[in-house]
């Protein structure tokens, strides 16, 4: 009886330990994760662009703008961390896919930080520049999503 219980406990421990190690997904599943990541990142970038454009029109108070931009930045940062933690399959296509998306995510993070800093300083020239850069990232993410969806 004790032996059976030990076996059950050992089995459960093996299942728990092996369950903690995420295997590399298949190329298709990895592409699916990349598309979901691009979609979520696009939401963060577009939120920042909308908030910034609304503020430029004098329709968004400074505290609300700052909170929205910080939240978008945090959100994009956690999206990138989650994507980077996924082990890509060992194929050249998957590596290219990862590099392309990771570059877009990094540019997005940089753009959001630049926009937040410039908005706090009310530096309109830098805000305009950061907005242009973020718009390019948004277009890139949108294209990525279209190209790799179903």
């Amino acid at each position: 009886m004790i032996r059976l219980r030990s076996l059950v406990i050992a089995g459960a421990a093996v299942v728990a330990v092996t369950g903690c190690v995420a295997p590399a997904p298949s190329p298709g599943a990895f592409e699916g994760k990349a598309v979901q990541t691009a979609k979520a990142a696009l939401s963060s970038v577009d939120t920042a662009l909308l908030a910034s454009a609304t503020a430029v029109r004098g329709r968004l108070p400074q505290p609300y703008l700052e909170t929205t931009l910080s939240s978008a930045e945090d959100s994009l940062s956690s999206i990138q961390t989650a994507f980077d933690s996924v082990q890509p399959p060992a194929t050249a296509t998957s590596d290219r896919l990862r590099d392309t998306l990771d570059r877009l995510l990094s540019r997005g993070s940089d753009g959001l930080a630049q926009l937040r800093i410039a908005s706090r300083r009310e530096d309109h020239a830098v805000v305009a520049e950061a907005t242009r850069s973020l718009q390019q990232v948004a277009d890139g993410l949108d294209r990525f999503e279209q190209e790799h969806s179903g």
Binding site: L42, L60, Y64, T68
Partner: protein
């Protein structure tokens, strides 16, 4: 005239008090992903909450006793305790979400990180529960919550194609790119957000606190049948503004700031200030209701003295439970868990617990020993039975759908 004013006040309070953090986030999120194609779930939820809130109000008015008081007596201590444990945990989880909501709303107004607001929000909620009279507490935050009408104004200012919106409501469809499990997961979330159990605990306990009698049944019905549907319209306005402004821009709501953005786009700073006021009032009011409901549930089950109409010293254990719940809610949010995620889980777990709340209400409101000639009529029973099937289906499907869709991703 005085009675008319009292009725109007009750209705207005019911409208403003209907929306809480669950409605704000879920309506904004669903509007930004599904347009108004899930409006049916809100509408069904509003009919359900009207039906069961009316029953629980009638039970309180006729028997002079609140829900959990009767649940233990009618279902027995064991079934009652299981019911209490589940309902209490979900009410405290919702309480945590509301405290997080207050902090997030204050962050929008101040740009001070929400975590710094959380202890202050918890303290303010506890002080109001401790010190402020029930009628003031109930009416002030409900009326301030009416500021959320600004979402309806924003909707009108966005000049939408009303026929297109009506088509989305009347001919629901699943937008491309969203799987059916995700669609139904959010349908259940909206249903759970509209029918949150604490609303009936608070409604029935409030009736007892205010010494409702059979003569108050008509007023209670007016509050429910006029106030709640109009509150439901506020939820739909939030979803509609998100559908018009956020959906075309690929923005999926995952922060409270995004819910208010369409108001700023449509109507500018003043309107946004009203929206923030509405966020604070709605979440603060709901935090008071959930905080009190946690105390009501435990005290009513164990037969302790409870309520705001007796001095705290006379209802010490009730106030101790409220204080402990407040500390638990504040501590939960201070773990830095995302308050929006807490909100999303609270509405889904609310859906899981719905049968535990609504089955006893249906049973008791049919019991002539308690209700005399005020038992449910045929229509109430027919609708109540249909809704009981719906809440059981939602409760059974909620967790599998949450796992299958990775919580709606």
């Amino acid at each position: 005239m005085k009675q008319l004013l009292s009725v109007a006040l009750g209705v207005l309070t019911a409208i403003g008090g209907f929306v809480d953090i669950g409605d704000l986030v879920t309506s904004g999120l669903v509007g930004s992903r599904f347009g108004l194609s899930l409006a049916w779930a809100t509408l069904v939820g509003v009919v359900g909450i009207c039906l069961f809130a009316e029953m629980s109000g009638r039970v309180a008015a006729v028997s002079g006793r609140a829900t959990f008081d009767l649940v233990r007596e009618r279902l027995g201590p064991r079934a009652g305790l299981a019911n209490l444990a589940a309902s209490f945990l979900i009410t405290v989880l919702t309480f945590a979400a509301e405290v997080g909501g207050i902090a997030l709303a204050l962050e929008l107004a101040s740009s001070v990180n929400y975590l710094l607001w959380v202890p202050a929000a918890g303290l303010a909620v506890w002080l109001v529960i401790w010190r402020v009279r029930f009628s003031v507490l109930e009416n002030v935050f409900g009326l301030l919550g009416l500021a959320l009408v600004v979402f309806a104004v924003a909707l009108w200012k966005l000049s939408p194609s009303w026929s297109d919106l009506a088509h989305q409501v009347l001919a629901p469809h699943n937008p491309s790119g969203e799987g059916l499990p995700t669609y139904f997961y959010y349908a259940i979330a909206l249903f759970g957000a509209a029918m949150t159990p604490y609303e009936v605990f608070f409604f029935s306990s409030g009736g007892v606190e205010e010494h409702w009698t059979k003569r108050d049944i008509r007023t209670s019905r007016l509050n429910v049948f006029v106030g709640f549907p109009l509150g439901g319209l506020l939820s739909l306005s939030i979803a509609a503004t998100a559908a018009l402004v956020l959906l075309p821009r690929n923005i999926e709501v995952d922060a409270l700031a995004q819910v208010g953005l369409p108001v700023a786009v449509a109507a500018g700073k003043l309107a946004l200030a009203a929206a923030i006021l509405g966020f604070v009032a709605a979440t603060f009011g709901a935090a008071l209701e959930t905080g009190l409901s946690s105390g009501y549930a435990v005290a009513q089950y164990f037969g302790w003295q409870w309520g705001k109409l007796v001095r705290p010293r006379e209802a010490a254990r009730f106030h101790l439970v409220v204080l402990a719940s407040t500390i638990a809610a504040v501590a939960t949010i201070l773990t830095t868990i995302d308050p929006i995620k807490v909100t999303e889980y609270s509405v889904v777990f609310s859906a899981v617990a719905l049968p535990l709340t609504y089955l006893p209400i249906l049973v008791i409101s049919n019991d002539r020993d308690y209700m005399g000639d005020k038992v449910n009529g045929r229509v109430s029973n027919l609708l109540g039975s249909v809704f009981l099937v719906l809440v059981v289906v939602a409760a059974v499907a909620a967790i599998p759908l949450m796992l299958a869709t990775k919580a709606g991703q």
